[in-house]
Subunit: 211 residues, 2 copies
């Protein structure tokens, strides 16, 4: 199988990818300075990754933060032979393995593309450069991290619920657009229930909506 | 029952609490400027909270970040009548409800003191002042948030494991000092297993250590 190929990476004259969707999202958190915008436009790489390919494999170090322009991505870990989905996100979200990116230790999680996906990648080296050269970028990152940290707490909260119906209700509350887009086996794994239980709960919810 | 009383809060001549343990921990993440140190010394409040009291009750807004000088604190949510422990931390850690602090919406979690506990409290208003008046404090916070976000991912990972032995192994790996200090009912709840299962797993682990 072919590995995902960076578009334009290492090619001096390759066209720079369109960084606008990333800049728009970052600006929403905190206004970017022109210097930050220029740096990102010059230093993000475009990636086209085919469905089911891995962006990060456990045991490898996570060296990038990715922005999803189009597509869907999940994180998963393994417990023995079991594959456990830990998060699922779609376009306009940033993804990375915060544990491995922070510590630069081998990742305990995998990142996999669930649909043919267009990404922008920023290397950790360039991220660190931004923190040092443009101190105001720490404000952008502080606000982003607050948001993603709160998201992680929400995911941990769902994972700790014991009743399938409560889990699915919370899932709809925070991830409604995923419910009819992502293959059910990943949603079931994310919610820590069997496919049969998820189907039963979904049926119950759809009949409630119908009444 | 008496509510926790802020020591020195609102009393003009009350002695300021000793902020050194907090400054030491923050300095470890990123060097504080003298201005930051002075601001914190002037604006943190000391709190003595008795065992079992709540620092935050669900439905209320979280308005503070707390630093544990001495003691132990847990977060918990409810599912029906069930009380689910979501985290347990001890001295030298910061605690808050990131979800409520970020959004200023009513908290979905409770924060409870598990031992007689000494805390330092910084109000959200003062935290926001620091971000605005001392932009470099965003670097400190960015590094802290990276650390706590990674911790949240680790907790979500433990919560998603299905085998009791794997859960307890991970717990020992990251929370070893809690294993013989925190009442087992909270550890069992945190790990999503019954007290009986936890006791059985602990016996197995201690006999492994002994051989």
């Amino acid at each position: 199988m072919k590995q995902p190929e960076p578009l334009g990476a290492g090619k001096e004259h390759a066209p720079a990818p369109n960084a606008t969707p990333l800049l728009t999202v970052l600006n929403y958190f905190h206004p970017l300075t022109p210097e930050m915008g220029d740096f990102l436009k010059k230093n993000v790489t475009g990636l086209s990754v085919r469905k089911r390919k891995l962006l990060l494999k456990e045991g490898n170090r996570c060296d990038h933060v990715y922005f999803i322009v189009k597509g869907a991505v999940r994180g998963f870990t393994r417990e023995g032979q079991k594959d456990i989905t830990t998060w699922i996100v779609v376009e306009n979200e940033l993804v990375s393995s915060i544990l491995s990116l922070n510590t630069q230790e081998p990742s305990i999680e995998n990142i996999q593309v669930l649909e043919n996906t267009e990404l922008l990648a920023l290397s950790n080296a360039n991220l660190q450069k931004m923190y040092e050269m443009m101190p105001e970028f720490n404000i952008v990152a502080r606000k982003l991290l607050q948001h993603y940290y709160a998201d992680a707490e929400r995911r941990a909260f769902i994972a700790r619920l014991t009743k399938a119906e409560n889990k699915y209700r919370h899932f709809l509350l925070h991830h409604d657009p995923l419910a009819n887009r992502i293959p059910l086996k990943y949603i079931a794994s994310y919610l820590g229930m069997t496919l049969e239980t998820l189907s039963r709960v979904r049926k119950k919810f759809s009949s409630k909506v119908g009444t």
